[in-house]
Subunit: 387 residues, 2 copies
């Protein structure tokens, strides 16, 4: 029994080693894998064989029956068998994406929808339909879905969305309201956006990802991992103080960043009805629009100055609506950062627009399960084998 | 050769294991050590014997020649042989402390001194005299000093103090200006204060330590380790935005926390000349003093609200002058935290005064080397054996 347990845990560790190297480095021969992992060639061959059979790996180049493992043939991650679901509830939309193990998006859909003041049951019912469409797509591709992660626009713990003032929700057990045939985890959209940027963007290993939507959140990535804080509530940049005598915020406080640079404050200041209208007005050089964007950028700079003082950041990535607004927002924010931090730090963090775009949180959500499967493939391998 | 290297690294690991258990758990028998470390009894006996000979461990109870290792005899950390130096340059004082391996303070001195606008060479010259007094005390006690750590009131990297506006220093290579016969490391006083609180106070494993002196800094402890940020500059709470239109700060920005709750702002608002006078005035219930403390507490609450939003903190420890001022500062700060965080988080972090007091940074500085020696005793063990 103890022998079997030891063998199992060694096998799990070795599977993780092999998948980890292929995931990080791309195509590798069995010989290279043996060298990188320190395992014997015969152990590597056995593990690679099992992973090929389970559809976790594929051989590159033309392969013929009986010819597996020819010298020089490389193996890569295969998206043929296992996939994961990324889901997102935001104030203005619902989204889903189906990601395979090779990190290819196999299906995605986004439904624009005003979720302000809506009943959680109703929104989650529609999300469930959307998720089912993705699960149907998975079945059609003969993909086993390993799990789903749901991104929500507010602080989360143990599957409960504590507060999403922009939805009008508080203490909603979102995980219990979503009935899917796969395990569901719930996390904050800014955290998942940060992971989306880390895994699918051009970002470095340490950065603050700022998610500018109706609400403003942030995810801090330190050494390629999320910094979550005591309860997973870290990164509430939207409620950092910009001015204590500022406008009343939906969170109950006053002068939070969101009251200056949140989507609704921005649109109101620019006198337009939508982000699309705001971008048109900015493109046309409309004065009210450029002024509103610069004012939001200034507020963002103030909140980021506090964040940099506390967290010692070198890189800030602006996502959500802040990405398309970057050319108009960033100069004002950079000006404030230079004025407030230049003398004390001697340097100012770089600001860059997200390269992943609006889907960062949905991608990060789907990517989390892929990451999880690659780090501990055993259970999913057995499940895949059993189907 | 490879065998010898392997043997050495195994021995180093085993020494760390044994010292770590005794350091964490207190007195232990050799049998208990064997059980806890998974090493054989004979390996433990050999390691304990070496550590007793080197003066790193001592046996409890009466010991007679030739009777070492009797069953039931416990070993504890011994402060007989190795010690470390904690040094601090603050705006108003210089301090030193000599800490032995059993974490007993064997010597300490604090010299009140106005270091504002002083030449670094002069201040470091006086600190060197102070350090020499402590080194003489170490020699008198036959203690080998393993190293010195210097706490300075500003952001530090690679032995350089980037900026200490309250001293009037910028880009000072403090490590190069201090000539001691032991290795010197330089770190920020708030970081070291946080470690002092962690090791010598009653704090939990996760907290923000706020150091209120002429400047205000903070050290974030996550899972019993410091969070340092990209360049070790994290925790600059003193320059978090309280109000963007507030008073001009020495850092070049406006409305930083320091301009409201720094020692000088506090004394000026209260109309007194020293912290001692302020405490007397508060004890006597003087209106200007209680008002000044409450206003500083309110500003502190605003900066901490931003910190809690970003870092998700449950516990904040107020150190430096904020510890004695706690009864007058804390209610206002707690009021702001409750008003700004209550609805979004559902809970408010606890504020508590430091239990270590004004020596937290000096103690943390000395403790860092002790921590280092216990984690890797080999080099110091050999040095102690050689003397």
């Amino acid at each position: 029994m103890t022998q079997a347990v030891r063998h199992d845990s060694m096998r799990a560790r070795n599977l993780e080693l092999v998948l980890g190297e292929v995931s990080r480095r791309g195509p590798l021969t069995r010989a290279a894998l043996a060298e990188l992992t320190g395992l014997t060639k015969s152990t590597v061959s056995k593990l690679v064989g099992d992973l090929l059979d389970a559809g976790f790996l594929a051989e590159t180049g033309p392969a013929r029956a009986g010819e597996r493992g020819r010298p020089g043939v490389e193996v890569v991650l295969s998206g043929a068998r296992v996939a994961s679901l990324g889901l997102e509830i935001n104030v203005d939309y619902l989204a889903v994406c189906l990601l395979d193990l090779a990190r290819e998006v196999r299906f995605s859909e986004r439904r624009e929808r005003d979720n302000r003041g809506s009943r959680p049951e109703e929104v989650l019912g529609e999300l469930q339909n959307l998720a089912q469409t993705a699960l149907d797509a998975a079945a059609a591709h003969r993909l086993t879905v390993a799990g789903a992660v749901l991104a929500v626009s507010g602080p989360v713990g143990d599957g409960v969305l504590f507060s999403a003032p922009n939805l009008g929700w508080a203490g909603v057990r979102v995980a219990d309201l979503l009935h899917l045939p796969v395990p569901v985890t719930v996390d904050n959209e800014a955290n998942l956006g940060a992971l989306g940027e880390l895994w699918f963007g051009a970002g470095p290993a340490d950065f603050l990802f700022v998610s500018g939507e109706v609400g403003i959140g942030a995810g801090l990535v330190v050494d390629s991992a999320l910094f979550r804080g005591a309860h997973g509530l870290a990164g509430e940049l939207g409620h950092v103080v910009v001015s204590p005598t500022g406008p009343r915020c939906r969170c109950g406080a006053a002068g939070c960043l969101e009251t200056y640079a949140g989507q609704e404050a921005l649109l109101e200041a620019a006198g337009v009805a939508s982000v699309a209208d705001l971008l048109s007005a900015l493109d046309a050089g409309a004065r009210s629009a450029t002024r509103a964007a610069a004012a939001a950028g200034e507020a963002l700079g103030l909140a980021l100055a506090s964040a940099v003082n506390l967290l010692d950041l070198d890189h800030v990535v602006l996502g959500g609506v802040f990405a398309p607004l970057f050319p108009w927002l960033a100069p004002a924010a950079e000006g404030v950062l230079a004025a407030r931090l230049g003398r004390l730090r001697g340097s100012v963090p770089t600001l860059a627009p997200s390269t992943v775009g609006g889907a960062a949180a949905t991608l990060g959500a789907a990517g989390r399960t892929v990451h999880h499967v690659l780090a501990d493939p055993g259970p999913f391998l057995n499940r895949a084998e059993a189907t």
